[in-house]
Symmetry: C2
Subunit: 414 residues, 2 copies
Amino acid sequence: MVGGGFGGLLAARGLGGADVDVTLVDRENYFLFQPLAYQVATGSLSSVEVAAPLRQVLRRHRRTHVVLGEVTGFDLERRVVVVEHLPNGEERRELPYDQLVVAGGSRYSYFGHDEWAQHAPELKSLEGALALRDRILSAFEAAEVERDEAARAAFLTFVVVGAGPTGVEMAGQIAELGHEVLHTEYRSADTRRARVLLVEAGPRALAGYPPRLSASAASQLRSLGVTLRLSSPVVDVGDGFVDVEPAGGERERIAARTVIWAAGVQASPLAAQLAAASGLATDAQGRVEVERDLTLPGHPEVLALGDMVTVRGQRLPGIAPVAMQQGRHAAASIRAGTRAPFTYRNKGELATIGRRRAVGVVAGVPVTGLVAWLLWLGVHIAYLVGFQNRVLVLTRWAFAYLVHGRGARVIHGR
Amino acid sequence: MVGGGFGGLLAARGLGGADVDVTLVDRENYFLFQPLAYQVATGSLSSVEVAAPLRQVLRRHRRTHVVLGEVTGFDLERRVVVVEHLPNGEERRELPYDQLVVAGGSRYSYFGHDEWAQHAPELKSLEGALALRDRILSAFEAAEVERDEAARAAFLTFVVVGAGPTGVEMAGQIAELGHEVLHTEYRSADTRRARVLLVEAGPRALAGYPPRLSASAASQLRSLGVTLRLSSPVVDVGDGFVDVEPAGGERERIAARTVIWAAGVQASPLAAQLAAASGLATDAQGRVEVERDLTLPGHPEVLALGDMVTVRGQRLPGIAPVAMQQGRHAAASIRAGTRAPFTYRNKGELATIGRRRAVGVVAGVPVTGLVAWLLWLGVHIAYLVGFQNRVLVLTRWAFAYLVHGRGARVIHGR
């Protein structure tokens, strides 16, 4: 079992009581509830509240082992996984397997411009979220002591690249932070004047949702004070600026000290390693195609799932519910000793924009505003791993939504 | 106002409604509730639960400004404070003052062996606590994959240097972690066999407490499985070992992968800067002596307080209640425009050792065991800054004490 995200964790859980020895390998010692990572970045939640130690989650499964390390290769002939950087200092170890489940997930893609990453950190990992929190809060601190008007404006300008669910949520949270929370705490800088720009290459926000909901999201974003710039591909990112080039328009430079990357999707390098090991190719997003039963072509003993794969003949969104269902399916296949085609049961999708603001489709019915927001709250609390985290996050949210308090605003990296 | 610890924060709060403009300068954007930092290191609490954003704490005081930056010097003639590394990138700025309060606190001292710091991180700062959490949890992870018996034992050996309150609390928590919490989660390593050594140069633990309580602390530590090594000064620390040389005994090498430093006290460099600016000397711990009214000799407009000073004619312990009372006293002096001698009202002191284990003196009465522990819980919840943090910490403790859960066990630095 490689990867302790939604797919890997559900697969491991599904094999819990089974008559098999399970070894779960992950680079981190925790499962990250990625849909809430953006709340860590804005100081609404603490990093450990959206993370659950993998060992703790799996502690009752006595035949499940957790190994920390980075998987760097597969030998499908000899049936071994190559793990590097073990915690005891060991450089490399081979772990043998009878059956293999790979669920490496995905990250954001800088479209070949990896040099943008230093100026525009991503929001997929916990480290990324914490780095972003430092940057966002430091920008407000910088604005407070800055005397030059233009420089101060740049510190109070936040650009979020990519208007998918994460970008929309992030932009909304920063706007709330500046406009509704921080303004009582700063004396020189007027945080209510913070500009939040959500920049999207495509023609609408939340492209995966029905157009009606994209329009609703756009107007809810506007009501929060977010400036939505559609059809505006980013062409350069540097120290203190973002360049966009709207379709048919002129290239424009936005002076902004904080740029957040939530665009593009790139499969985990594990997909390419699997492909290389089995003589397959990857697609433009680096994904490998698996059979309908999630097995690697020609290797019924290897299952791969989640954001890092495409399933033959299906078009599935790269969201947590897909990975979770695939993880459960993989576990069921291994338990049964058979291979059956995977079918995705679409229960819906929700994206929040801010307090009392959200959009989504639930059981085929589009929802917006307060109803969507309450559903979003319920679903995210219900799926959060660990009872303790549920209680803590509920407490934080109660404070955040009732008294506008945001307690996790600590800058770690000064 | 320099320093946002117990002393500085209480002084700033005390000046809240007064007819003065207050500027609080600190390197960090948060107040750290330092007495609970050790619980961050053992994964019992999240870092942000023991920290409160300074701006949030002081937000109602409209004439109080918070500036992030490092104070590097004082010019008492021109009445300016030199601040470096401002968050907007400015290298250096001078802040003028009419009256100055300096509360820089203290850190642990490596007795001139700063090279030990890399092998034995300290527990005074939040960054230190997080670095220690990574080390402690990684050591258990390493033991899990290590096949060599001796190497595994070294990964499962934890040495805490210094049996003051922090060292005692830390040793107790690590013992509980290994012996009572983690053993259900590891498969190859037996965390119940983790050795925790508390090494102290002096003849007893908690030297600031009455000898009877030191003896009680020692037996409570033993009941948790901590090995207490008294009269054993540390003479060297390196990669994977600690050397101790007991009085009259032979030098001994302890193989340990995790060493935690909680010994010695060294005043903040601000004390030496104040001394240099006013032509005074510092003592062996780097502290500067102030008058009975907390003013710097010859400078009635400058007050200094907390761990970084000694008060003429008084011998005060370096603990939070002293700094808090001095902070309040400084604020009252400034409000009144007078200078009166400071008197410490000793309400008592408590040190916890583990679940249901503690010692202390409250209102002159020595307490031990469950009673002391309940008092300790109550005092620490009551003094924790921020209502939200109180609720969150209570929740965490309820889980930790009732179901042995420790939710904040995330390794950030892999």
